[in-house]
Symmetry: D4
Subunit: 224 residues, 8 copies
């Protein structure tokens, strides 16, 4: 019954089931993956550390573990890597935010969306961002990941007109308050096209960006 | 130079300039509207109370004032009302949140997007929501406005697969902390397709939903 | 003198003494249980981890350890399991909140109250809740346990008219702030029949629900 | 349809519809009362100031306005005042908390429940509380209203075994933070039988206490 | 120069130097004690865990370690235990707050003040407090230590007229926020004779109470 | 009964009854004063604005209104101004904190204690404080009132050895958060002899200082 | 004595006395200005609204009132406008922050420092900032004033190497929390040369920038 | 390209690249140092614990590790230790704040600035500060490091007229909230010449002070 529900879910929404790995042990994750494999072509687990991933791989060898993103992905052999043309952009500032950015990117890819990673463009050296503006502008959606003061989405939002999904990270110290500073920055952005996810919620951003990437059939520009 | 920039802006992004009315007096708003009229077909001002709106209308009679949304909208005669087919949904729970919901709806309409208002569907009587599910599912994006504990987007998010933009309002008292409660609820939503705007930021939600509604040309489902 | 007081206490209120295990070592807990056994038929200790429980069981073999709830329960042989007819319902959303839900359930059972566990009904898949509505409606009281954004009690509260005791859990991350988000949600619930316990306070909810379950003799519907 | 729903609601739950008067003008409240009168025998509106109440009374003369509670109550002539035997107790400390205590008391009375008011028993003079202990112990439920540091429910909770509904008020200054201090006190109460409502939510406490007062038919002590 | 200053300090104020042990290793503490011994008859170190205390005792065998209070006290052989008549009272509720209460008591004793410990009198069983009222009333000052909701000082403050020093502890969980709840309770106490120390600052309370205990020579009741 | 209680209270504790004027109208205050006059020689009301004071004075002409402190004081003709020798010191930094400082001073005086006001000694010009050190050192207790960052008690506490009662005020802006900054400063003071009252609680400080000033009979330095 | 101190102060530090106008009435400000005029050539009062300024001007006609900055400045006839070469830059984003920016600029000018105002350069249109980079780079210090999310100092800090003084303003709504968002952003800035003032403290920034502008004589680059 | 950028950076701003060691392993730090060595004469890494430092030293033996500051510094043989005359002062209160103070001092020294350390001058013994006033007054800038209540910069700011950079530390407990108390104190300082860095941000203070120390050539006092 468990698997049956999931199958219906993907048929209806196009979203495979996702496993939140935190607080589950390797055996539990293996058992859920195995169950899901019978009814879906794509299984994603997030927040899985390397130790658990190794244990899973011993039982299910064809998973792919992304250590940065801490994700485990399984795809059936017949399943194509990508389901849509176009791409989303994942932009982040520094090396500390990479883990969240990768969680976002891998989630979108798990749903069959192309991702362009633009990872070297923090506000402290704004010229680096400008080299990538055209690539960002061509994305359907841009995910902006930033810790510390979280100013990046405001700057990007002032330069492009497509939707921006901002993800604050918990990187920082002192008056950062585990990401609160970046969260408030993003909620108060004076650039208009910016919406916000929970602190460190790369998965949510990847999922949300995918819901946007998939809606194209419902709108059509009227002739003017 | 001022007007020239705005004209370019609309050509490039399709977004007319918006005036934030709070803290500006009627004369200032009139002067900005007049300046913008020379280069754009649509001018929107938000956070305008009735007194100011009356003063503006005396000088620029063809504006439309929406008292619920507290918006002033001007369109040139030749400008069509809508520029896109399809629609976005604006969902809210009770009468107290109407002002924010209307700000969102009017903003999207000002950009030429059709809006369906579904305003009677609070969580305290969940069956009311179910009567409108099909209409919500057909929207490209759903804006969910809620005060108090802000649970509505979580429920809607569990039922549909299109993107949801959640807007907390400052309606409530006591441990509501002027909307903080609803804001945290939405950021922590256990439903996946939910992104969040600042408290009471109906404008931002309408703007953001429009950026989504307009991206349709960039994506196409690959054959499977 | 210590045991004498407890005996009187149970006679007067029907509540056996409860031991808060956190910060006490196994020897201390054993010594308190032994003392209580001489004057009461039921002894409950909460917040006991498995290591301590094992140490206690070696000395007092007829205790029952519930690993999910982290409770140690002892009952005298002659003591019946249940003292009341009717039941309370304990409702929770996901696997992460199970520990708190079980603490609530076991506490009520320790006081002789029947409990129905309804553990698969998170807001993200609201239909699951509806399958259990009748069972919930027949309960004297419903304990609603939820982490993340904590929306479950609001939805349940809109559907039933019996008292609801909401328990926020500390499950979540980022802007969850260790359960603050769920706590505020529950305090601001727009459904009326909802009262709130401290974060993770499953014991308090079970105790409080039992005080409600036991008051039946004092009220009687007047003829109309 | 509006009235029909309400009628069913009362038949099903025994709860008449309640109007939240804050943010509604007199005309709106009059119109809702009139509509409800056709299908129910009891109509209650809360958070109504005297000015509005006077305006309502001119149109609907048989309402009763309680200035302390800021409530408007209408009952059909045939409707008995009370529907249940037994009573709930409403306990509060000082004159500043009276408004919230009265909102709780009037709400319970509007639902047909007897209320005993015990209003002179603040913690700063604990002996006053002891004179009323027997009366409190006989209540099915006790509502404890307190501002400042909110210690009253803890003291009462240590003395009686029936359920206690604690309501923090926003009375205080400085580090009181508009009732946050009393709210935290009540959530952390070391007395077990205490659940908590939102700051200043007298209505919710009265409603919740009534749900408890009405459940008597579902439980019966088993023979021992 | 270091020791010289300390000697003057005690001559002037009667207070021996105190060592804050947290963050210092055993060697450092030993070295400071040794230095102080040459110029003062009493040396106190706080926040010293047993491991460090054992290491100190090996080098300076005539120290007294109080494991509950986590204090190390050294007195010269000739030094009398007590310097004043009368006593202060240290009152606390439960076993969890004992460590802070003992730190307060030991600090006052280290300054030569008699202390009466009254440790079994939490608000949840208020009658226990009443048995000790006379003893509390005879104290010059009462130190009230409480965690959880911290209601004890309010109750004591309503019963006696001598000064009360309230110390919140960090004992609790959830909405306790590491002692914030008890701290706010004490700052907002509706009993008048209550002043407050930082969370867990037993040392500060003992020191402050001693400053009060020592001022007796400056005031004399005028004849009436 | 009301008056009888108060009379006993003063006999027992030496404290006349105090009226908290905030939220009471002139008539209520007049009525309470009149009642108290029959059984006590001193009546104090705090938080009374000039308008109310004028109305009270019309009915009870021999009250004294202190506009800075916002207090109303009545004494019977026969009552001496002061009951004790010695004095307490009230120290504050700038003109903005005067109102709280005066409330403290007037409260102590109302209880018959001499007060020395030292009002020109903010931390920004520390030399001013040094001119008054001897006077402060001779006080039994020192009340330190400070807004903004509230550093004054720390500096005074490092210079004298008698007890210090610190009162944070709500004076400041921005990250002052209505006195939270000064409150935290005082709670964390690295000077030891400092206890803290609620923000703006001048009354509490005056009352507490008086409880200290009055205890002199209970302690006597033992011969050494 | 009052005036004498101030005279010494300016001789020693070069800083004239500044009057904090908030909470002082016109008469008080006039009296302080008059007193200061006898010993200094420059008198500045901040936080003075127009009504007070008009009243002051009637008595002291040669003051200059800046309505944006809400400052009153008086200079003796002989006093030169500027005392230093070089300049500081005051940068701000939008019209809402102008009042704080002007307070900073006027304060520096009152101390004789040249100021360049660069007021049209918010992050939402970053290109506007680039047109002014050279002018900013030539300033000794740059004051960056920003409300909303407060990202401007981070961007400026990444582009220039001179010291930056960031001033958050209270402009914004919702999760802005009266400037807390901008304050945290600036404290967490990932650009290194940024220090922070209190929310809305334009005066402090102008004063601090002047202390920097004046130190030039103490340092000299060593030959390399 | 990486190294090329850095080289330009130093030429332009005089600031060598700094490595934030937290979250990087020894190999990563070694690799960045090696890369930077090819283009700059000074390489600084902060937040490096001893274990990592030892690993780095094995590969790059001519680094200097400062265990208090937790910094790794490398300078080319030819590079002079100091580049400027004059000095900055680093002032701190107690031993607990030393680590942050040293991070500030070492950072300034890494940029070639002389530093005077004045480390024994906490507010609790204010006379110690006065012995060093002249040395502090002669500094171009003073960095004030303080934990607990953080009052030191206010006192120093009232005594000198040169710029003060205040750094709160996270030292303290209870209502200290990991440095929040000291941070708020410094932001609200009633002494004017004070700007603030993030909690524990010694590096930022050292960097910022250096930007001030280097600007001397741009300003010159005009003849008067
Ligand atoms: N209600 C609103 N809430 C937040 N931002 C708004 C709102 N209305 C307009 N804006 C933004 O404010 C900018 C204009 O601000 P201003 O130049 O002050 O009129 C526009 O570009 C919008 O992006
Ligand atoms: N004082 C009150 N506080 C909180 N909720 C209330 C109060 N009074 C009425 N309500 C709730 O508000 C709902 C009606 O809201 P409305 O439709 O806006 O009048 C009722 O169903 C009540 O549950
Ligand atoms: N447990 C404690 N909590 C707060 N302050 C303390 C404590 N123990 C000692 N102190 C203070 O810390 C100072 C000594 O600090 P230190 O020089 O670091 O040993 C003494 O003067 C005491 O005032
Ligand atoms: N706008 C301002 N914000 C903060 N402090 C100020 C401001 N204006 C003046 N001050 C300070 O307030 C002090 C004077 O306060 P007062 O004696 O109350 O007039 C001066 O020494 C200034 O340092
Ligand atoms: Mg944009
Ligand atoms: Mg969904
Ligand atoms: Mg209900
Ligand atoms: Mg009880
Ligand atoms: Mg008392
Ligand atoms: Mg002292
Ligand atoms: Mg820079
Ligand atoms: Mg200064």
């Amino acid at each position: 019954g468990f698997a049956k529900i999931d199958h219906q879910r993907e048929t209806r929404t196009g979203f495979p089931e996702i496993i939140f790995g935190e607080g589950k042990d390797a055996e539990q994750i293996i058992s859920i993956i195995s169950s899901l494999q019978q009814n879906t072509n794509r299984v994603l687990a997030t927040r899985v550390d390397r130790e658990k991933a190794d244990a899973i791989k011993k039982v299910i060898p064809d998973i792919v573990y992304n250590a940065k993103a801490r994700t485990v992905l399984w795809k059936s052999e017949s399943e194509p890597d990508f389901l849509y043309n176009g791409y989303i952009a994942v932009v982040c500032a520094g090396t500390s935010d990479l883990s969240v950015a990768e969680e976002a990117a891998v989630t979108a890819e798990a749903f069959g969306v192309h991702v362009r990673r633009i990872y070297d463009v923090g506000v402290a050296g704004i010229h680096r961002l400008f080299h990538h503006l055209e690539e960002i502008e061509q994305a359907t959606v841009t995910i902006c990941v930033a810790g510390m003061e979280g100013a990046l989405p405001s700057v990007v939002g002032g330069l492009i007109s497509n939707p921006i999904v901002a993800v604050p990270t918990s990187i920082g110290y002192g008056a950062n308050f585990q990401g609160l500073s970046a969260l408030l920055t993003m909620l108060n952005s004076c650039a208009s096209g910016v919406s916000v996810m929970n602190i460190d919620n790369g998965f949510g951003a990847g999922y949300f960006a995918t819901t946007i990437h998939k809606i194209h059939r419902n709108t059509e520009l009227l002739g003017r």
